[in-house]
Structures are given as C-alpha cells and as structure tokens.
C-alpha cells in the first residue's frame, strides 16, 4: 500500500507543477499583451497629436496680416487663407514712444470699424472668428500715436494652441503715371519701360478653393501707344515685296516665333558680300533708328561670319559706298566696317539692308534695336 501511495504522489507532482506553470505563463503573457496594446495606443495618439500640431501650425502660418497707418488711425488687414476657422483672441500695438495698446476678451466692445467680407461693424469684440477665405479689416484710432509694431494672438484648431502672428506693415499703393510722347517725324518710335504696379490685396472676391485673389484698386498703367511714326516695319511673316536682294540666296524660314528671312552669302553683292535691301531716301533726316533681330543659324566656312545692318549709298558720286555694323561670329564683338567710302560726301540717300559676308545664314525676326547715325 505504501508503495502504491508513493507511486501516485510521484505521478501527481509533475501534473500539478505543469498546471501551475501554465497558469502563471498565461497570466504574464496576457499582461505582456495588454502592456503592448497600451504602448501601441499611446504611440498612435502621439502620432495623431503631432499631425494635428502640424495642421495647427500650418493654419496659423497661413494667416496673412498687414497694417498701415494714416496719422490718426491704424488699419489691420487679416486674411485667412486656410480651410479652417481661426480665432483672433488678442491684439497688441506698440507705439513709437514705447507705450502700447492691448485688446482682448476683457476689453469687451471697443470703438472700431470692422469689415468682415461685406459686413461692416462699429464695435470690436474679441475673440473674433475668421472663417476660411475671409478678409477682416480692423480700423482703430491710435490717439495721435505712431504705431511701430502690431502683433495678433491667434488660436487655431484642431489643437487649441495660441500663437503670435506679427503683422507686417503694408506697402502703400500709389499711382504713378508716365506719359510717353512719340516722335512726330517719320521713323520708328521704340520705347522700353518697366511698369511696377503696386497692389494691395484688400478684398477677397471669390470664396471658392483654390482661392482666387484679384487685385483691385490702385492699379493704373497708362502705357499705350497713341501713334507711331515708323518709316517701315515688317515681321517677315512673308517676303516683303518692296525689298530686293543684292547677291545671296534669300527665302523664308520658320521656327522663330513665326517666320523669318533666311539668307546665304554668295559674294555677289556690294563688297563681295550679300545684302537684302529696303530702299528709302533718308536725306531729310538728322537721325534714324534701325532695329532688327538676327540669328546665326549655322556658321559656314573657315573665316568669321559677320551678320550686320548696313547702309548703302546709292546716289553718291561713288556709288555703292557702304557702312556696316555687324557681329563677328567668332569673337561676338560688334564691328564697324566701311566699303568704298573714302572721299564720299554726307547727306545722301541710303539703303537699310541686311548684310551677309562669307557663307553666312541669317534669320531676321523682328525690327528691334540698333541705331545708325546718318551723318556719314
């Protein structure tokens, strides 16, 4: 009997030990899984908070604020360019004498002119919600003080965080009018100018996304041509009928914002070059401007190519005397050449032409900008 009991107890002990071990393992495994789940949840919440913080900062940074001052009143422009409503909770204005004005919820209603879209209010109550795509204009009296800095406290969602937005001083738009009086004499009138148009985005005309901001007011440009005294103008979209070739092969080509004249030198023109000419009597002019745009498409031959504007004197005692102002294809420099002009007299008829020398291809696009004085 004793042997049987000892045998039974030996059989029970491993079973009991195993059961205890399994139970304890199950408990700590479940504890570990639970702890892991909590850590994962915290990590997920952290990521969400970081994302929301990024959105909040983005919302606040997209708020545009400007201010200007007209000796008695300060005007603050605030434009919400994001798709969330932001809350204007406080305004701080610092003046040049070191004093300051603060406006927040505790000030309740204060006298001011508020323009929210098309709504005009006479009292400012903070906090003020600024809905998406809305411009708010706040005009306050400064009591004869000069402001030097304006800051706004803005609260944005999804995280209710407040942030200071420094309003920048607005550029005051002024109208500048320039009048250009073209020459009344025969010849091309060319003017070149830069029109800087200051604008103030003082209104949001549309409230759709993407937002369209249209500049209104203060935009005036008065640059228009009222007349032109050009002697001749062609864009070479077709071969002009009143031009003629002196040597060379000339024809139309494409690829230069339209067509252009292309030429190839054959040394059969004046001065063993080639010219494509427009003839006109210039003897009554003291000065003229001749403008063209040229392009060396392919350099030909071992010698430098020269593509130029030239004047040919056809009625002088020495016929076909010529002045050439051109660009050396090798050096890129402007060169002035003369041909058969020694002893010639000034003030005679001239020809404006395109000039080619030495196996050159030329594309002429538009009359633009080089001047040639007539006093030869």
């Amino acid at each position: 009997l004793l042997r049987k009991r000892v045998g039974l107890s030996r059989a029970l002990s491993p079973i009991v030990g195993t059961i205890i071990f399994v139970i304890i393992m199950a408990m700590f495994t479940s504890l570990f899984i639970y702890m892991l789940d909590r850590v994962v949840n915290i990590a997920r919440e952290s990521f969400e908070k970081v994302r929301e913080a990024g959105e909040t900062v983005s919302s606040i940074s997209s708020l545009k604020a400007l201010w200007n001052f007209n000796k008695t009143h300060i005007t603050i422009y605030i434009e919400n360019q994001v798709s969330r409503t932001v809350l204007l909770t406080a305004i701080a204005i610092v003046y040049s004498d070191g004093s300051y004005t603060t406006i927040s919820r505790v000030n309740r209603s204060i006298d001011a002119k508020i323009v929210i879209g098309s709504t005009v209010l006479n009292k400012l109550d903070l906090p003020l919600g600024i809905t998406p795509a809305t411009t708010v204009t706040i005009t306050l009296s400064t009591k004869s003080k000069t402001p030097v800095a304006v800051s706004l406290a803005v609260e944005a969602s999804p995280i209710a965080v407040i942030q200071a937005v420094t309003a920048k001083i607005a550029e005051i738009a002024e109208t500048r009018t320039s009048k250009i009086t073209p020459s009344t004499t025969l010849g091309t009138t060319t003017w070149l100018g830069i029109a800087a148009i200051p604008t103030t985005r003082n209104a949001t005309l549309t409230k759709t996304y993407p937002q369209t901001v249209t500049s209104t007011g203060g935009v005036t440009y008065n640059l228009e041509r009222v007349s032109r005294g050009a002697l001749y103008y062609t864009d070479f979209e077709a071969l002009p009928s009143d031009w003629s070739a002196i040597g060379g092969w000339w024809g139309l080509t494409t690829g230069f914002k339209g067509r252009a004249v292309e030429g190839r030198d054959n040394n059969q023109g004046v001065g063993r070059a080639s010219q494509y000419c427009y003839s006109e009597n210039f003897s009554s002019y003291l000065s003229l401007w001749v403008s063209t745009k040229t392009f060396l498409r392919t350099k030909l031959g071992p010698r430098p190519n020269l593509y130029s504007i030239a004047l040919i004197r056809t009625l002088s005692p020495k016929d076909n005397s010529m002045y050439v102002i051109g660009i050396n294809s090798e050096t890129g420099s402007v060169e002035v050449w003369s041909y058969n002009v020694e002893g010639s007299e000034a003030g005679l008829s001239l020809i404006v032409l395109l000039y080619l020398v030495t196996e050159l291809m030329l594309g002429m696009l538009l009359l633009l900008g080089m001047s040639i004085q007539q006093q030869l």
Binding site: I23, Y34, A90, A92, Y100, A160
Partner: protein, 146 residues
C-alpha cells in the same frame, strides 16, 4: 512530529504559488494603467493644453515690457526671470495690477491679454525674460526701442 500528507503539501504549494502570481499580475496591471494614463493625460494633453503667446517684448527707459496673451485655458503665473535672475515685476490684465514676486501665483484667465513690466537698469539694451507658469515656461528676448 507528523508531517502533513503529500497531497496537502502539494495543495498548499499550489495555492501559495497561484496567489503570489495573481498578486504580482494585479500589481503590474495597476502600474501599467497608472503610468500610461498619466502619460496620455499630461504628455499628450486633453485638447485644452496650456499655451501662452508672447506678442511683444521690448525695453522702454528702465522698464522691460512683455505683452502676452493666454490661450483657451487659464495660466498661473508663478515667477519672472530676467537674464536668469528672479525679479519682482508687475502684472497687468483686465485693468488690474498684481505683483509677481515668485512666492505667490497669479491666475490669468483664458484668452486674456496681459502685460508684465519689470524694472531694469537704464543701461540695459537687451534682456532675456522667462515667464514661469505652473503649466510651463515661455521665453522672450527684448531690445530697447526708446
């Protein structure tokens, strides 16, 4: 002296082991819950987190002036340090002035502009000011404008 039977001994050992394991399990469960909840509520916030914005800070004469605003929740101002030195400063908000000494706290309501003014030597051209709230600190630099 007679010992207990082998069955009783095995039963007692089983009970002791299971009870000890259960106590450790419940304590660990409690500790995990407490610390993760604390982290969630404090570090991640509940959406109404503390925030104070500094709108302007400058020196005028012998005064350091800091203009700020509280956010969606109130803030408890505890102390003001100028250039790492505790200063006694005046706090203004809602048409009322308070003295900030570092020993007593002043609660600034939510969405309220406030001004902190501290005396400085006239020769100071700039300063770094740290405003200590119970909920956190904000630091600003100030330069002389007049």
């Amino acid at each position: 002296l007679r010992g207990v039977s082998e069955y009783i001994a095995a039963l007692i050992m089983t009970i002791v082991t299971l009870v000890a394991g259960t106590v450790i399990f419940l304590y660990s469960y409690y500790v995990i819950n407490v610390y993760t909840d604390m982290f969630s509520s404090r570090a991640l916030g509940s959406g109404e987190s503390f925030s104070v914005a500094i709108l302007a800070s400058y020196i005028r004469g012998n005064q350091l002036i800091v203009i700020g605003s509280t956010g969606a929740s109130s803030a408890t101002l505890r102390a003001v340090y100028v250039n790492e030195t505790l200063r006694i400063c005046a706090l203004y908000y809602n048409y009322t002035s308070y003295l900030v000494t570092g020993s007593e706290a002043v609660v600034i309501p939510y969405r309220t502009a406030f001004v902190v003014i501290c005396n400085l030597p006239v020769t100071s051209s700039n300063a770094v000011v740290k405003i200590v709230f119970d909920e956190g600190d904000v630091v600003a630099k100030a330069g002389r404008i007049i």
